[in-house]
């Protein structure tokens, strides 16, 4: 027993050592040498090589250990018929715990602005915007399985709708909010019609292209969008003509966002377990079988696409009102990738997972300032690691267990 363990450890260390040497060699020139072609100087940073060697050894050790676990787990899963449910999700789905927990969460959220600073409240508003964006993209990607890489385009549509209408016609937040949603949906359908018959990965690329086109148009069509310099002095939300101070306005937006988050959670959770939600899942699992069973694939796809876009449009309006300034730089591909990372990390198809994912990805970098430079690096690495080791994300989407009316069933 001890012997096999020993042998296993030796094997791991040897694998990790090889990987570490390989990676150190691979990264050597880029990590160590830095050429400044303006000053004509070359800096050698040999310390980086040492960091890389040690770091990659540790990471490789973890990688191989996890890989072994994964392979063993897969072999085991083939034998099991009953799904393993993690303790966390079991705990969270038990109504005895879930209800009080939800109530508690709501109370904390409702009291938050009274106990924390403006700065903190602002961060939380951002995080909540990403919760809704994540849930919106979750409908498209997580439920219906349509990889949309141009999701921010709809977010941009919402933001520019408010910014432009406010700038030119002084329309208020509440008037534009539904309009942003409608325009989001409109663009979703507009794009959806031609592209939704494409296969999965082609769809991803076309949506990516569409997102880029929208951004490039915003950047270059100066007469319409004020170009790269963007639009500033957008009104914060008001109510019946009352003008709030910055602080009050932030609190106000906070509560608006809280309401929108709750609404979104409610809507998406209900949709997920409905006739439409089931059709989306079937679509994700097998398009051909789905259509052969009488589901209108095009319609189901359009609905998923439009709903996701609606939420993005809605959030665009809130975003513009919150920051009071927007420009095309807020709507790059990286933004789409980040929202996708939220959905992937949280767990595709799981509402709770997406909420957790959004808070983790938005809040951790804020509070771990030292790491904020490495944020995108870590995002990228996380996406790879999640796909390799835990494709279901933090919280595995669970299927509803339906209550069967035995008498009726005879």
């Amino acid at each position: 027993m001890k012997d096999t363990l020993m042998r296993y450890v030796v094997k791991l260390v040897r694998q990790a050592l090889v990987a570490s040497i390989w990676l150190s060699f691979l990264t050597l020139p880029i990590m160590v040498i830095r050429v400044d072609t303006i000053e004509q100087t070359v800096t050698w940073r040999w310390m980086h090589l040492a960091y890389m060697a040690v770091g990659s050894f540790v990471l490789a050790l973890a990688w191989y250990a996890m890989m072994d676990r994964r392979d063993r787990g897969q072999a085991k899963k083939d034998l099991e018929t009953v799904e393993r449910v993690s303790a966390l999700s079991q705990f969270l789905s038990d109504p005895r715990f879930a209800k009080p927990l939800m109530a508690f969460g709501f109370l904390v959220a409702a009291a938050f602005p009274w106990f924390f600073s403006l700065y903190q409240t602002n961060i939380l508003v951002s995080a909540m915007i990403y919760v809704v964006l994540g849930l919106g993209l979750n409908i498209t990607v997580g439920l219906a399985g349509l990889l949309d890489l141009g999701y921010v385009a709809f977010y941009a549509v919402g933001a520019y709708t408010y910014a432009l209408l406010n700038h030119h016609f002084h329309l208020g937040f509440w008037a534009v909010l539904p309009l942003g949603a409608v325009l989001g949906a409109f663009f979703g359908i507009l794009l959806g019609f031609p592209v939704l018959r494409l296969r999965g990965d082609y769809l991803a690329i076309v949506t990516l292209g569409f997102g880029q086109i929208i951004r490039l148009v915003l950047e270059n069509w100066g007469d319409f969008s004020y170009g790269p310099s963007g639009i500033s002095n957008i009104d914060r939300p008001g109510l019946f003509g009352i003008n709030y101070s910055v602080e009050q306005a932030t609190t106000y937006i906070y509560y608006i966002m809280l309401a929108l988050v709750i609404l979104t959670i409610f809507v998406t959770a209900r949709l997920k377990d409905s006739r439409i939600g089931r059709a989306w899942l079937a679509l994700r699992e097998d398009e051909i079988a789905c259509q052969a069973m009488g589901i209108d694939n095009t319609r189901a796809k359009l609905m998923a696409f439009a709903l996701g876009a609606t939420l993005a449009g809605l959030m665009g309006v809130v975003f513009a009102a919150k920051t009071t300034f927007i420009n095309p730089a807020s709507f790059t591909f990286m933004e789409s990738a980040m929202i996708l990372a939220i959905v992937v990390l949280g767990g595709m198809g799981s509402v709770l997972g997406v909420i957790l994912g959004a808070f983790m990805l938005m809040l951790l970098p804020e509070y771990l300032r030292a790491f904020s430079e490495y944020r995108m690096l870590i995002f990228g690495a996380t996406m790879v690691l999640i796909m390799v080791f835990r494709p279901e994300g933090l919280v595995r989407a669970k299927r509803k267990v339906y209550k069967i009316n035995v008498e009726a069933a005879g």
């Binding site: 099991e80 089931r278 209108d296 339906y402």
Partner: protein
């Protein structure tokens, strides 16, 4: 052997439920189907047999809208529904989901279930085209939607009991044993309330006992749901004892048709099968 299952009384009266006239299918220069004629009458079990690569699955794909036939007429005669017509509905190239909605539901040769949905949910998907609630219904859940949902659940569960899977209702379909997956596909197809059930090699990969059970199940289903069945099958024992009529296909053509007895004595069929397929 075949007699006890062919006691249909209305076999030769009225319209067929499916009529295929002169259907051909070309893929580029390749002629996969050539002038195929086929008919299924109410309450019949019709089998389509033939060596591998004869074009049987292509034929299924042509009559379910997955492919559009290059030539010919495929006409269905639904019993009920808004598309009911006295002289039938032409379904060449109709979208797959509409064909299903019309009342022709199929299973697949290489099982196509929705793996990470439960057995019950798989059947519930079949109910989709017979129910209506939309986004607003899903979000607001008015009484009508709740009632519809409960009906879908109960209905689907009942169908699961018909195919003997009620105990596995909440299992993910990917975890079901092979034979159960095949039966689940049949239950899912039945959930769409078809008048014609299209089974693509339902007994493939089953042992003799499972095959026998499947046969009994198909007989029961025909009686109970008043459906006609068109099946592709390689298991000759099952085909001979289950079918009312058989069509034999080779190289995309129908080379023989008739009762099991007639077909099995046709020299052309014997020639087609000898050396090509030892199932016969």
């Amino acid at each position: 052997m075949a007699q006890n299952t062919t006691d249909m009384n209305n076999q030769n009266t009225g319209n067929p439920v499916l009529s295929v006239r002169n259907v051909s299918m070309n893929f580029g220069g390749l002629r996969a189907l050539s002038e195929v004629d086929l008919e299924v009458r109410p309450g019949e079990v019709v089998a389509l047999i033939g060596p591998n690569g004869a074009g049987k699955t292509t034929f299924f794909n042509c009559i379910t809208g997955i492919y559009t036939p290059t030539d010919g007429e495929v006409t269905a005669y639904p019993k009920t529904g808004k598309r009911k017509r006295a002289n039938g509905v032409r379904i060449n190239g109709m979208r797959t989901n509409l064909v299903c909605e019309l009342g022709m539901a199929r299973t697949f040769q290489n099982i196509r279930l929705f793996p990470s949905m439960t057995a019950l949910e798989n059947v519930m998907i079949g109910r989709h085209c017979r129910t209506k609630s939309g986004i607003l219904g899903a979000v607001l859940r008015p009484a009508a939607t709740r009632r519809e949902e409960q009906e879908v659940v109960d209905n689907s569960y009942e169908l699961l009991t018909k195919v003997g899977l009620e105990k596995l209702a909440n299992e993910y379909s990917r975890n079901l044993p092979y034979g159960a997956q095949r039966r689940l596909e049949i239950a899912r197809a039945l959930a769409t309330e078809p008048f014609l059930l299209l089974l693509d090699e339902p007994a493939a990969g089953m042992n003799p006992q499972e095959t026998e059970e499947l046969k009994q199940m198909v007989i029961r289903i025909r009686e109970e749901f008043k459906v006609s069945v068109l099946l592709i099958e390689h298991d000759m024992k099952m085909v001979m004892s289950l079918s009312d009529r058989i069509y034999v296909m080779e190289y995309g053509r129908i080379i023989s048709t008739g009762t099991p007895k007639e077909v099995s004595e046709d020299p052309q069929v014997i020639r087609a099968y000898l050396g090509e397929d030892d199932d016969a």
